[in-house]
Symmetry: C2
Subunit: 321 residues, 2 copies
Amino acid sequence: MHDPANPSQWPTASDILKASRNIAPYIHRTPVLGSSYLNGKTGGQLFFKCENFQKAGAFKSRGAMQAILSLSKTALSAGVATHSSGNHAQALARAAKLMQTPAYIVMPETALKVKVDAVMAYGGQITFCKPTLEARESTLAQVVSQTGATIIHPYNDYRVITGQATACLELIEQCESLDLVLCPVGGGGLLSGTALSLAYFSENTALIACEPSGADDAMRSFRAGRIIPSVQPDTIADGLLTSLGSLTFPIISKYVQDIVTVSDKDIIKAMQLVWERMKIIIEPSSAVPLAAILNGNVDVTGKMVGIIVSGGNIDLSKFPW
Amino acid sequence: MHDPANPSQWPTASDILKASRNIAPYIHRTPVLGSSYLNGKTGGQLFFKCENFQKAGAFKSRGAMQAILSLSKTALSAGVATHSSGNHAQALARAAKLMQTPAYIVMPETALKVKVDAVMAYGGQITFCKPTLEARESTLAQVVSQTGATIIHPYNDYRVITGQATACLELIEQCESLDLVLCPVGGGGLLSGTALSLAYFSENTALIACEPSGADDAMRSFRAGRIIPSVQPDTIADGLLTSLGSLTFPIISKYVQDIVTVSDKDIIKAMQLVWERMKIIIEPSSAVPLAAILNGNVDVTGKMVGIIVSGGNIDLSKFPW
């Protein structure tokens, strides 16, 4: 029987290497950028793995692509489905379009127009529902029973975790001898993938996860040794609202050294600094690790530090154009 | 006698190649980025030469560095001076700091705090004056008579033009067989340098300059065949307010195919699109060429098009943080 606490069930080094080759034609090998200003300010040498430049604007394209490429021909032809109002929805719609199969996306009727437009631009077929988890799940079940599509969960899926792991695999190839990697955590797909890649390919690199204090379920779960779901999370980092999953939690428990939290104020300050100094757009979720350095929660003095920049999708309609 | 209309006086191919080697240790060889979305939208293949990632956030670091490296030891030890409230001031302060000599910067007392802070962060010594051209010039003359510093003009200086030319030289090395290059124009330092690099190293590439309609002195000068100075220019593209200079105008007249103008509304739209789609911060001045493509003033269908992205310095304090 499947036991997610048993490491023999987890994606292997070979799975991650294979995924990296499989998805390569469909994604960007994103650049690693630095900033002499931020190095001076923090005392460390920071290496930003820029998944904001990834296809569809976020690392989610990796997991979605790997999941779709893992399907049998029959399954693939019936399409894929998910409920999401965020980057996973766009990434899955894009991946499905590339493989010429439908993507059925269940979105709350309150979803931002910019997100709806992005999914539609990739040809996703949207079903709207009430903005509750119950409505999302029951609507998704209905869509699946009508279409026979395969559900691709945004993070609680080993195929997805394996895909997300390829970002850190690339980072390791691009920067040798990192002392530390910092990674934001929401549902834990990116974090558990990052943890596996470090464990397999860079075992002397420490891993610290960074989380908004307004959605600190991962920190509390990590300390308690069991999943404590998020209740009414409230943070500007809209990619990190979800709770850890049954598959991501055991991997995180085993391999992550610590989880630290930061306030929204610190997140905004860090994001602004990256925009101003590095001239790149990162979304609030991606600023969480730098915020943890700048507010003193993570000491990087004299260290080589990799930072996974998860994405760059932001609603600019709020800005004073 | 010196005649700026005589091409034998202009920086040569060898000057530009030498400058490129001289300044290389002090500047970034900036990347060239593309966007499949923008290629699809415009029908061309666009290559953005990202000087927004340049040291001090703009191409100005090239010209300032080249000018300072051209000074004799005696001149260098007395420092450099300029009046500027923009990117040139930062670039000159930075270049002077690297060469361990003072930079005297005359700034209007109305200059934005963010610009003043940036110059001070590079160790520039600021003298404030009334916000008129007369006050700026008389204050600068006073500073120079007291210090013996060498004035480095932001654009009307062959050393500066030679430095700015290295951006397009790199672009030519990074992308073969460009059909067309688009470049914003203010005082014409970047544009005349770009024109020389294309004339020497890529003679089959056309060059079109792009200008805000609220500061269209370059277009009017180009058509009239003589310099018509800017009177009360008004545009969001704050890097393009200046008028063509006596040294830049003849080069531009000879080598530029056309100068087209765009509205501030089009500039803002193009800038937003680059932020959203390419996930990079560019300043309004840098969005002018893309705006000219998107509003139909420049047809890029089927063409390989280089776009000089001049900088990424923007005042984020106006944004809803």
